[in-house]
Symmetry: C2
């Protein structure tokens, strides 16, 4: 059997089932970051993301933006757990004929966004490869009380996104701002029940929250903010790489966020009982059950 | 200009010079691991290694051994700083047609060696790529007093390796035992001045110690242990991927190690003044100055 028969998430599940973790690991595979007990008052967050030429960026993409994105996607993972990013390593696979002007721009893109977010690039590894391949691993920290996972969405919670969705491939996927500040604000001032970042598309990433929380949801077309690059609602539901936060808050807190809202958070629906699955209410009031969809590597 | 004009280490230097690190970073790029202050009594070690099909293993290599090696090279980096390996992430780039039997064996190779060394595989990332690409990032810890870097080799130190060298590509590079236990033993019982692992060849890796320590060295052909797979002394000097420890001890401690030696450590030479560079004494007593050589990616 080919791995495409299992699919990306089937393959991850297969691996996850066979793995043993000791008690210092709060959360292994299956969230935006691994969560590890550390000696201080904080948990350690640990995440990695691999970008490959032809999949995550093109040969002609400005290398500055490639470097920027390589760091930004990991920043977004740390943000999704409400953490503070601190250290990263960069593994770089480069074809033999790569120009120094390319690596200079790539490094500058990495440096600029890292220093903006207070992240130290503490090392890395260089290898020869057919296509440009960049893997960034990042360590962050989060106060124990502020940790947010995908797994605690509760019936009645209001579902929010931190910004407009869809059409990211037209440019936003290379230029997005990781929502580190927004996530810290939300966790400290409101206390979230669950959170993830939208990397594989709203439907798929909301699906992760529902799966981990054993819950269902209703979302409303009229409430989902379309980005200027989105052609229609399908782009907002299924396109990947928006890297906005997707989170849930109990009703009272949600009302307070909406009242105080200065940062463009959008309520898009509500958590319901698991038996309902994921329901989509379109702009004519018709209800449809949605199952799966979104970006998959295999 | 192509990156081959700068070379692997020239490229790393170029990057290193432009990077800013805050005071929580004890050691960034330029050692086997990054060393980071942590809240407890230990330093955190952080390292990554990327393996690429066709460079670090072949398409026909048993995937169990590929998985094993992917973890083992990072274990060797943690060992080189005398640390205890604890957590890792695995980023995996796989071609579309990859068989599930391949990934099952690969995962098993990773799991077996990880659990043997007490390492938790806490997550990872999956991507599509033309060639199988594996990047492992690993976190370890070391008591502050036991940390060993490349940078403190002192005049008069005796230089040791932890085992025989050369010809690793004939098989050892896929099956070597990371010297975690040996490194812990040495750091706790002896207190080392400097250490690295031999990944790029004895001459090149000793060169890293000399560069970081601003020192020179004399090594003796008659003292360098040849592995059974090494054809001649050149293999022991220049072949990569032995993953043995290379370390230096002050004379008195070195004598004690030699006296008590139960683990096959071999004294191969001595640290001298920087002005001498790296001197090689062959088996006829002739002295030759050596500059550079060993495995380079570009």
């Amino acid at each position: 059997m080919n791995i495409s028969g299992l699919g990306e998430f089937g393959l991850i599940d297969r691996f996850k089932k066979s793995i043993r973790l000791d008690t210092s690991v709060i959360k292994g595979t299956g969230d935006d970051c691994a969560v590890i007990r550390s000696s201080g008052a904080k948990f350690m967050l640990f995440t990695c993301d691999m970008l490959v030429e032809g999949v995550d960026f093109l040969k002609k993409t400005d290398p500055y933006l490639i470097g920027r994105k390589a760091i930004a996607v990991s920043l977004s993972d740390i943000a999704a757990c409400a953490g503070i990013p601190r250290y990263c390593l960069v593994s770089l696979g480069l074809p033999r004929g790569t120009k120094v002007s390319f690596t200079d721009r790539l490094f500058k893109g990495m440096r600029d966004i890292s220093s903006k977010f207070g992240v130290n690039i503490v090392g890395g590894d260089l290898s020869r490869s057919a296509k440009v391949t960049i893997d960034v691993s990042m360590i962050g920290f989060v106060e124990k009380r502020n940790l947010v996972l995908r797994s605690n969405a509760c019936k009645g919670d209001i579902i929010f996104t931190s910004g407009a969705l869809g059409g990211s491939l037209k440019g936003k996927h290379l230029k997005f701002t990781p929502r580190v500040g927004e996530a810290r604000f939300l966790a400290r001032k409101f206390g979230l029940n669950s959170m993830t970042d939208i990397s594989d598309g709203l439907i798929q990433d909301l699906g992760h929250i529902l799966e981990e929380s054993l819950a269902g949801a209703v979302i409303y077309q009229d409430l989902i903010p379309l980005s200027a690059s989105a052609g229609n609602i399908k782009n907002a539901l299924y396109d990947g790489e928006d890297f906005e936060l997707l989170f849930t808050l109990p009703l009272a807190k949600a009302k307070r966020l909406i009242r105080e809202n200065a940062r463009g958070f959008h309520a898009i629906g509500q958590i319901v009982d698991k038996k309902h699955g994921l329901l989509f209410v379109d702009n004519r009031g018709r209800i449809r059950k949605i199952s799966g969809g979104g970006f998959r590597h295999f």
